[in-house]
Amino acid sequence: MTLFAIVQIVVTTTAIGFCVIGALASLNRRRREKLRTRAHHWAATIVLDAGPNLEAASRDLSRLPMPLLAEVLQQLASDTTGESKRRLRVVAENAGLNRRIERLSRRRRWQKRVQAAHLLMLLPSGAPERELLLTDRHPFVRARAIESLSPSGVGRFSSLLLDSLGHESPAVQTATQHALARGGSDCVPTIVDGLDRSLSGLLDPTAAVRLMQVAAELPDPRLTGSLLAFADHDDFRLRQLTASSLGRGIFPEPEVHLRPLLADPMADVRAEAARAVGIGRVMSLAPALGRLLGDPQWQVRRDAGSALALLGPPGHIVLRCHLRDDDAFARDMAKHVLAQVNGQTANANTFGQRLAA
């Protein structure tokens, strides 16, 4: 009886606790949500420099609980630049957030240091904590610090970032890639330097692939020389990425470099080159794409077909020529793509007619 009574009491207490604690937690969540909305409003005022309200907003924001202030400032600081960012930094400085970041960056537990890395963009560009966190021994902290770098910061720590591309942790590698991609034209010298180093064998092959992935996404003429150097590289992934970059419209004579890639022994490279022809509208390679309609690999045929559709009338002529091809694959692919193109034209006409009516 005693055991049963004890269990009954404990169960009832827990059940009531569940209802009460849960209700309090809900209330707390709602209150936090309201406060967060107001905090975002104040922070937006600071970012947009809305005249007379600026001082009041700064004052209200500084009074927020530290974790919420850190969260709001971090969210905005990662997407702002120039004067807006400077004003946010002033708020952080006045609220004592900078001292907190400095303290956190020297803590023994990585869970604390990662908080500092998360707020790194609120520190002035020359702060010593930046380098400390960018070379942190814990990959998670290091990755977060790299992710917090501004485009100009990427240029300043270029050498460190190139080393990070070869880091054993995928988190660090991915964060570095993303930081370089975000850096855009500011990062081009760093990327060119890295690609040159990988050609000389000073950068490990995986890091080179990761760097090429970033380079292939950047439409900057300064990259052309370094990118073309990989067109006949032994590693097919690098050839594929070169093919991808050739469709960006930054190369003076893309057909010269794309033609050999369309005949590459690796299907992935041929498919990428076909896509690049379509995206870059390299009309002179339409017949070569036509030949790929009968490629043994389905993805190459698909990409060749799509590229011919993208080329417009010259591509459509090539597709029509292949409607009576001896090769069944080429014939069918041409039929599919033309049906698709005609369907789109028909839809456009109907829409046009409706609009006119």
């Binding site: 009886m1 055991l3 049963f4 004890i6 269990v7 009954q8 404990v10 169960v11 827990t14 059940a15 606790g17 569940f18 209802c19 604690i21 849960g22 209700a23 937690a25 809900s26 969540r29 709602r30 949500e33 990662s78 990585w110 869970q111 990662v114 908080q115 890395a117 998360h118 990959p139 998670f140 990755a143 977060r144 992710e147 054993e168 942790s169 995928p170 988190a171 991915t174 964060a175 890639q177 993303h178 991609a181 992935q213 970033v214 996404e217 690999q297 389905w298 045929r301 698909r302 694959f329 069918d332 692919m333 599919h336 049906a339 698709q340 369907g343």
Partner: protein
Amino acid sequence: MIAGAFGIAAHVLGAVVLLTATLQAILVLAAVIDLRQSRARTRYRLWRRVMNSPLAPKVTVLVPAFNESVTIRESLGGILALTYQNLEVVVVNDGSTDDTEDVIIEEFDLVEVHNVYQALLPTEEIVRLYRSRVDPRLVVAQKLNGGKADALNAALNLASGSLVCAVDADTIITPDALQMLVASFVDDSSVVAAGGSVRLTNGGLARGPSGLRPKFPRQIWAACQVVEYTRAFLVGRLGWNQLGGNLIVSGAFGVFRRDKVIEVTGYLHGCMGEDMELIVRLRRHGYEIGEPAKVVFNASPVAWTEAPEGLAELRRQRNRWYRGLLDVLSRHRRMILRPKYGSAGMLALPYFVVVEALAPIVEAIGIIALVVGVALGLITNGQLLFVASMYGVGLLVSISVLLLDDVAFGMLTDVRTRFRMVAVAAIEHLIFRPLTIWWRLGGLLYYVQGRTDWGVQVRRGFSENTTPGSPLPNV
């Protein structure tokens, strides 16, 4: 003499319930520790910006479909609306006898393409392959029926992503769930599989202060399953995360490394619990080649699904799950209590044998003995109170899990729902659980007979809040 035997049976029943509750309580504590420790990792991880960039690893969502015409439209609409950038979706219609194929063709404007792919895993023949004109990321294969494992293997053959995400056709993933799961692979290269929470939408969805939240269902069996799922995911997955013995990634929502899955020859044909079997095999393979494979559970990414509400449907489901469990344990019995297999062999598998496989059988015998004993007046009040107390301890664990879930994830908003949940937790413990034990006994019988049929699940479609092609807003 007979009265003594019934008394012993009552005590054994109480002891089994207490043992289960105690082990679950340990796992609840482990789950609390895991939630605390993973806070920094979850809060400050890279997924917010990096995982939304095209540089994130390519993920192929594998959708095996069998007679899913009611839900496939919404499900695919939800998947294609995921905010993950580098995405591909492969649907394998596993010889459906309804109009699933027609529904997908019509909804996504499919066009037949050449049936050429690299068959890395042997499967039933793919008869037609389609691509969508509406969304080039969508690939649909019409395949001869071969079961869920076969459909998943076919999808693995067609996939081009380095990561694959297995999703049931009746499941909706929240838009940013994939980023959170993929981040686990980016954080740690030894992770081979990652699973997220599966929550039930039987009661529909409502908009809360922090996004969508499920309404607590009115239908009693669905409500019981909400309590059961919450306990299973927080105790069975999050708790094992901390103890390093995660052996289950829900077949409804999990991400895997494609190369590793192919290395272990994909999903196993003819296995009832193919999702658990794959995880056990991945972990076993990792230990055998000296590269321990990590399986992680992340409670934040959520997938929504519907649970069966009819008792007949539920019986078939539980019967199948239990057969699956027995099948997996039997296939990998060599791992049990072998230090070579680390925490999987020394902790998780013995737990599954004792708590999930054997305890229900002992509990079933105990319940029968208790009922007969009470009817014949052979059980004393003291023995009855002892059994009731032990069930009370079990209920205590369930309510603690509900509290943990509420505080950590904030899915509940009003006090009335919390009171209802407590009442349902009691019903779940006193009525639903004995029922599932009874169904498991049926599963045991089927397993002994060697039956491998799946039964039919009736789909009702998602709540009226969700419309075809309109994705769920961010949660």
